[in-house]
Amino acid sequence: MKFIKYLLVGILFGIVMTKSEAISWYRIQEMFRFQAFHMYGIIGSALAVGIIGTFLIKKYQIRSLGDDAIHFNPKSISVPRYLFGGILFGLGWALTGACPGPIFTLIGNGFTVFIMVLLSALVGTLAYGALRSRLPH
Protein backbone atom coordinates (compact mmCIF):
# COMPACT_ATOMS: atom_id res chain seq x y z
CA MET A 1 0.00 0.00 0.00
CA LYS A 2 1.42 3.31 -1.08
CA PHE A 3 0.85 5.03 2.25
CA ILE A 4 3.05 2.69 4.29
CA LYS A 5 6.19 4.65 3.39
CA TYR A 6 4.64 7.78 4.91
CA LEU A 7 3.86 5.86 8.08
CA LEU A 8 7.48 4.67 8.26
CA VAL A 9 8.91 8.19 7.78
CA GLY A 10 6.46 9.36 10.42
CA ILE A 11 7.83 6.75 12.80
CA LEU A 12 11.36 8.01 12.07
CA PHE A 13 10.15 11.55 12.73
CA GLY A 14 8.56 10.54 16.04
CA ILE A 15 11.77 8.85 17.15
CA VAL A 16 13.95 11.81 16.10
CA MET A 17 11.66 14.33 17.82
CA THR A 18 11.68 12.25 21.02
CA LYS A 19 15.40 11.53 21.15
CA SER A 20 16.32 15.11 20.25
CA GLU A 21 14.09 16.27 23.15
CA ALA A 22 12.55 18.88 20.81
CA ILE A 23 9.20 17.74 22.21
CA SER A 24 10.17 18.80 25.71
CA TRP A 25 8.32 21.77 27.26
CA TYR A 26 11.50 22.46 29.24
CA ARG A 27 13.59 22.60 26.05
CA ILE A 28 11.18 25.08 24.51
CA GLN A 29 11.43 27.23 27.64
CA GLU A 30 15.22 27.07 27.34
CA MET A 31 14.86 28.22 23.77
CA PHE A 32 12.58 31.17 24.51
CA ARG A 33 14.82 32.21 27.40
CA PHE A 34 17.99 31.93 25.26
CA GLN A 35 19.55 29.81 27.98
CA ALA A 36 20.81 26.96 25.81
CA PHE A 37 21.98 26.42 22.27
CA HIS A 38 20.34 22.98 21.83
CA MET A 39 17.08 23.96 20.08
CA TYR A 40 18.83 26.58 17.94
CA GLY A 41 21.39 23.95 16.99
CA ILE A 42 18.64 21.58 15.91
CA ILE A 43 16.74 24.15 13.83
CA GLY A 44 19.96 25.66 12.47
CA SER A 45 21.52 22.39 11.39
CA ALA A 46 18.20 21.20 9.93
CA LEU A 47 18.13 24.43 7.93
CA ALA A 48 21.75 24.17 6.80
CA VAL A 49 21.10 20.69 5.38
CA GLY A 50 17.66 21.74 4.16
CA ILE A 51 18.92 24.74 2.21
CA ILE A 52 21.72 22.75 0.57
CA GLY A 53 19.45 19.83 -0.28
CA THR A 54 16.69 22.06 -1.65
CA PHE A 55 19.22 23.84 -3.83
CA LEU A 56 20.53 20.50 -5.14
CA ILE A 57 17.03 19.18 -5.87
CA LYS A 58 16.30 22.29 -7.93
CA LYS A 59 19.70 22.35 -9.66
CA TYR A 60 19.65 18.70 -10.70
CA GLN A 61 15.88 18.56 -11.18
CA ILE A 62 15.73 15.54 -8.90
CA ARG A 63 12.42 13.77 -9.34
CA SER A 64 10.20 11.99 -6.85
CA LEU A 65 9.77 8.22 -6.51
CA GLY A 66 6.77 8.35 -8.81
CA ASP A 67 8.98 10.21 -11.31
CA ASP A 68 7.12 13.48 -10.83
CA ALA A 69 8.88 16.81 -10.56
CA ILE A 70 9.41 17.91 -6.96
CA HIS A 71 7.48 21.15 -6.52
CA PHE A 72 8.27 23.86 -4.01
CA ASN A 73 5.16 25.96 -3.62
CA PRO A 74 6.24 29.59 -3.48
CA LYS A 75 4.24 31.61 -0.98
CA SER A 76 2.92 35.01 -2.01
CA ILE A 77 4.43 37.84 -0.01
CA SER A 78 2.20 39.50 2.52
CA VAL A 79 2.78 40.46 6.11
CA PRO A 80 -0.47 40.31 8.12
CA ARG A 81 -1.30 36.60 7.88
CA TYR A 82 2.26 35.41 8.52
CA LEU A 83 2.95 37.90 11.30
CA PHE A 84 -0.38 37.75 13.16
CA GLY A 85 -0.92 34.03 12.60
CA GLY A 86 2.68 33.44 13.58
CA ILE A 87 2.33 35.44 16.80
CA LEU A 88 -0.81 33.54 17.84
CA PHE A 89 0.88 30.21 17.14
CA GLY A 90 4.00 31.35 19.03
CA LEU A 91 1.87 32.18 22.07
CA GLY A 92 0.41 28.67 22.00
CA TRP A 93 3.82 27.09 21.34
CA ALA A 94 5.31 28.63 24.48
CA LEU A 95 2.23 27.74 26.56
CA THR A 96 2.07 24.07 25.59
CA GLY A 97 5.76 23.62 24.82
CA ALA A 98 4.68 21.90 21.63
CA CYS A 99 4.09 22.66 17.98
CA PRO A 100 1.94 20.32 15.86
CA GLY A 101 4.57 17.62 15.20
CA PRO A 102 5.43 17.29 18.90
CA ILE A 103 1.74 17.18 19.84
CA PHE A 104 1.39 13.86 18.01
CA THR A 105 4.78 12.62 19.24
CA LEU A 106 3.96 13.46 22.87
CA ILE A 107 0.72 11.48 22.69
CA GLY A 108 2.82 8.49 21.62
CA ASN A 109 5.22 9.18 24.48
CA GLY A 110 2.40 8.66 26.95
CA PHE A 111 1.31 12.28 27.48
CA THR A 112 -2.20 11.28 26.49
CA VAL A 113 -3.66 14.59 27.75
CA PHE A 114 -2.17 16.11 24.58
CA ILE A 115 -5.13 14.51 22.80
CA MET A 116 -7.06 17.42 24.36
CA VAL A 117 -4.44 19.89 23.08
CA LEU A 118 -4.95 18.35 19.63
CA LEU A 119 -8.74 18.58 19.87
CA SER A 120 -8.46 22.21 20.98
CA ALA A 121 -6.18 22.87 18.02
CA LEU A 122 -8.83 21.36 15.74
CA VAL A 123 -11.40 23.72 17.27
CA GLY A 124 -8.95 26.58 16.65
CA THR A 125 -8.60 25.40 13.05
CA LEU A 126 -12.39 25.38 12.65
CA ALA A 127 -12.62 28.86 14.18
CA TYR A 128 -10.06 30.16 11.70
CA GLY A 129 -11.97 28.63 8.82
CA ALA A 130 -15.15 30.29 9.98
CA LEU A 131 -13.58 33.71 10.60
CA ARG A 132 -11.02 33.97 7.83
CA SER A 133 -12.95 36.30 5.55
CA ARG A 134 -12.92 38.82 8.39
CA LEU A 135 -9.19 38.54 9.09
CA PRO A 136 -6.39 40.52 7.43
CA HIS A 137 -4.20 38.40 5.17
Binding site: G14, M31, F89, G90, V113, M116, R132
Partner: protein
Protein backbone atom coordinates in the same frame (compact mmCIF):
# COMPACT_ATOMS: atom_id res chain seq x y z
CA UNK B 1 26.37 -5.51 19.02
CA UNK B 2 22.69 -4.79 18.60
CA UNK B 3 22.32 -4.17 22.32
CA UNK B 4 25.27 -1.75 22.27
CA UNK B 5 23.71 0.11 19.32
CA UNK B 6 20.33 0.37 21.03
CA UNK B 7 22.02 1.63 24.19
CA UNK B 8 23.91 4.26 22.21
CA UNK B 9 20.88 5.67 20.41
CA UNK B 10 18.88 5.58 23.62
CA UNK B 11 20.97 8.42 24.99
CA UNK B 12 19.78 11.93 24.09
CA UNK B 13 20.72 12.82 20.52
CA UNK B 14 23.02 15.79 19.96
CA UNK B 15 21.62 18.75 18.00
CA UNK B 16 24.00 18.12 15.12
CA UNK B 17 22.50 14.65 14.66
CA UNK B 18 18.87 15.66 15.29
CA UNK B 19 18.76 18.64 12.94
CA UNK B 20 20.10 16.82 9.87
CA UNK B 21 17.76 13.88 10.66
CA UNK B 22 14.81 16.28 10.54
CA UNK B 23 16.06 17.57 7.19
CA UNK B 24 16.25 13.92 6.06
CA UNK B 25 12.59 13.47 7.04
CA UNK B 26 11.74 16.51 4.92
CA UNK B 27 13.63 15.14 1.90
CA UNK B 28 12.11 11.68 2.23
CA UNK B 29 8.63 13.23 2.25
CA UNK B 30 9.48 15.32 -0.83
CA UNK B 31 10.91 12.26 -2.57
CA UNK B 32 7.70 10.35 -1.86
CA UNK B 33 5.68 13.12 -3.45
CA UNK B 34 4.56 14.82 -0.24
CA UNK B 35 6.01 17.67 1.77
CA UNK B 36 7.03 18.44 5.34
CA UNK B 37 4.22 20.42 6.96
CA UNK B 38 2.36 19.05 9.96
CA UNK B 39 -0.23 21.72 10.74
CA UNK B 40 -2.10 21.16 7.48
CA UNK B 41 -3.21 17.79 8.87
CA UNK B 42 -5.49 19.73 11.19
CA UNK B 43 -7.30 21.26 8.24
CA UNK B 44 -7.50 17.78 6.68
CA UNK B 45 -8.97 16.28 9.84
CA UNK B 46 -11.63 18.99 10.03
CA UNK B 47 -12.47 18.41 6.36
CA UNK B 48 -12.60 14.64 6.83
CA UNK B 49 -14.97 15.25 9.72
CA UNK B 50 -17.37 17.04 7.39
CA UNK B 51 -16.58 20.68 8.13
CA UNK B 52 -16.58 21.36 4.39
CA UNK B 53 -20.35 21.14 4.34
CA UNK B 54 -20.63 24.31 6.40
CA UNK B 55 -17.33 26.20 5.96
CA UNK B 56 -15.84 26.68 2.51
CA UNK B 57 -12.25 26.65 3.81
CA UNK B 58 -12.68 22.94 4.49
CA UNK B 59 -14.42 22.22 1.20
CA UNK B 60 -11.51 20.67 -0.69
CA UNK B 61 -10.41 17.23 -1.80
CA UNK B 62 -8.97 16.16 1.53
CA UNK B 63 -8.41 12.61 0.33
CA UNK B 64 -5.30 13.86 -1.52
CA UNK B 65 -3.88 14.65 1.92
CA UNK B 66 -4.26 11.22 3.49
CA UNK B 67 -0.53 10.57 3.14
CA UNK B 68 0.09 13.25 5.79
CA UNK B 69 -2.38 11.60 8.16
CA UNK B 70 -0.31 8.40 7.86
CA UNK B 71 2.76 10.53 8.61
CA UNK B 72 1.39 11.96 11.88
CA UNK B 73 0.04 8.55 12.95
CA UNK B 74 3.61 7.39 12.39
CA UNK B 75 4.80 10.22 14.66
CA UNK B 76 2.56 8.86 17.44
CA UNK B 77 3.97 5.34 16.88
CA UNK B 78 7.54 6.67 16.74
CA UNK B 79 7.01 8.53 20.01
CA UNK B 80 5.72 5.34 21.60
CA UNK B 81 8.64 3.25 20.29
CA UNK B 82 11.22 5.80 21.46
CA UNK B 83 9.62 6.11 24.89
CA UNK B 84 9.33 2.36 25.33
CA UNK B 85 12.50 0.94 23.77
CA UNK B 86 14.93 3.84 23.67
CA UNK B 87 14.62 5.22 27.20
CA UNK B 88 17.74 7.17 28.21
CA UNK B 89 19.61 6.29 31.37
CA UNK B 90 19.84 9.91 32.46
CA UNK B 91 17.40 12.77 32.94
CA UNK B 92 17.24 15.72 30.52
CA UNK B 93 20.19 18.07 30.79
CA UNK B 94 18.24 21.30 31.10
CA UNK B 95 20.12 24.55 31.70
CA UNK B 96 20.34 25.39 35.40
CA UNK B 97 19.33 28.96 34.58
CA UNK B 98 16.08 27.69 33.07
CA UNK B 99 15.39 25.36 35.98
CA UNK B 100 15.90 28.23 38.40
CA UNK B 101 13.74 30.64 36.35
CA UNK B 102 10.94 28.08 36.31
CA UNK B 103 11.29 27.45 40.02
CA UNK B 104 10.70 31.16 40.62
CA UNK B 105 7.30 30.91 38.94
CA UNK B 106 6.50 27.72 40.78
CA UNK B 107 7.23 25.11 38.13
CA UNK B 108 9.51 22.26 39.14
CA UNK B 109 11.81 20.44 36.76
CA UNK B 110 10.91 16.78 37.11
CA UNK B 111 13.72 15.44 34.89
CA UNK B 112 11.09 14.37 32.36
CA UNK B 113 9.91 15.88 29.08
CA UNK B 114 7.18 18.14 30.48
CA UNK B 115 5.93 19.26 33.91
CA UNK B 116 3.29 16.71 34.86
CA UNK B 117 1.91 19.12 37.43
CA UNK B 118 0.57 21.09 34.46
CA UNK B 119 0.12 18.43 31.78
CA UNK B 120 -2.15 15.83 33.33
CA UNK B 121 -5.77 14.77 32.88
CA UNK B 122 -6.58 15.74 36.45
CA UNK B 123 -5.24 19.22 35.82
CA UNK B 124 -7.42 19.73 32.75
CA UNK B 125 -10.34 20.99 34.80
CA UNK B 126 -8.33 23.53 36.79
CA UNK B 127 -8.25 27.13 35.54
CA UNK B 128 -4.51 27.04 34.92
CA UNK B 129 -4.54 23.63 33.28
CA UNK B 130 -7.47 24.54 31.04
CA UNK B 131 -5.80 27.77 30.02
CA UNK B 132 -2.48 26.14 29.15
CA UNK B 133 -3.80 23.07 27.35
CA UNK B 134 -7.12 24.12 25.84
CA UNK B 135 -6.45 27.79 25.10
CA UNK B 136 -2.85 26.93 24.15
CA UNK B 137 -4.08 24.27 21.76
CA UNK B 138 -6.67 26.64 20.30
CA UNK B 139 -3.96 29.24 19.62
CA UNK B 140 -1.86 26.60 17.85
CA UNK B 141 -4.72 25.56 15.60
CA UNK B 142 -5.92 29.07 14.82
CA UNK B 143 -2.44 30.57 14.44
CA UNK B 144 -0.95 27.88 12.24
CA UNK B 145 -3.87 28.00 9.79
CA UNK B 146 -3.78 31.80 9.61
CA UNK B 147 -0.01 31.69 9.04
CA UNK B 148 -0.39 28.76 6.69
CA UNK B 149 2.17 26.62 8.49
CA UNK B 150 4.04 25.81 11.70
CA UNK B 151 7.68 25.02 12.54
CA UNK B 152 7.90 22.21 10.00
CA UNK B 153 6.15 24.08 7.20
CA UNK B 154 7.71 27.51 7.67
CA UNK B 155 10.85 27.31 9.81
CA UNK B 156 12.19 24.18 8.11
CA UNK B 157 10.52 23.74 4.71
CA UNK B 158 9.83 27.39 3.92
CA UNK B 159 13.18 28.74 5.03
CA UNK B 160 15.01 25.89 3.24
CA UNK B 161 13.39 27.27 0.12
CA UNK B 162 14.46 30.79 1.16
CA UNK B 163 10.87 32.03 1.35
CA UNK B 164 10.56 35.54 2.78
CA UNK B 165 7.00 34.75 3.85
CA UNK B 166 8.33 31.96 6.07
CA UNK B 167 10.87 34.30 7.64
CA UNK B 168 8.04 36.67 8.56
CA UNK B 169 6.13 33.73 10.02
CA UNK B 170 9.13 32.59 12.09
CA UNK B 171 9.61 36.15 13.37
CA UNK B 172 5.95 36.02 14.38
CA UNK B 173 6.49 32.66 16.13
CA UNK B 174 9.24 34.18 18.22
CA UNK B 175 7.40 37.40 19.01
CA UNK B 176 4.56 35.23 20.31
CA UNK B 177 6.76 32.77 22.16
CA UNK B 178 8.92 35.42 23.78
CA UNK B 179 5.91 37.54 24.80
CA UNK B 180 4.23 34.53 26.38
CA UNK B 181 7.39 33.38 28.18
CA UNK B 182 8.66 36.70 29.47
CA UNK B 183 5.54 38.85 29.79
CA UNK B 184 2.68 36.46 30.51
CA UNK B 185 4.21 33.50 32.35
CA UNK B 186 4.87 35.49 35.54
CA UNK B 187 1.21 36.53 35.45
CA UNK B 188 -0.15 33.06 34.72
CA UNK B 189 1.96 30.92 37.04
Amino acid sequence: MMILFIEQISQPWAWYISGPMIALVMFLLLWFGGEFGVSSTMRTMCAAGGAGKRISFFDFDWKTQIWNIFFVVGAVVGGYLAATFLTPSEPLQISTATVSDLQKIGIAFNAGLAPTEIFSWSNLLTVKGFFVMIFGGFLIGFGTRWAGGCTSGHAISGLSNLQLASLIAVIGFFIGGLTMTHLFFPLIF
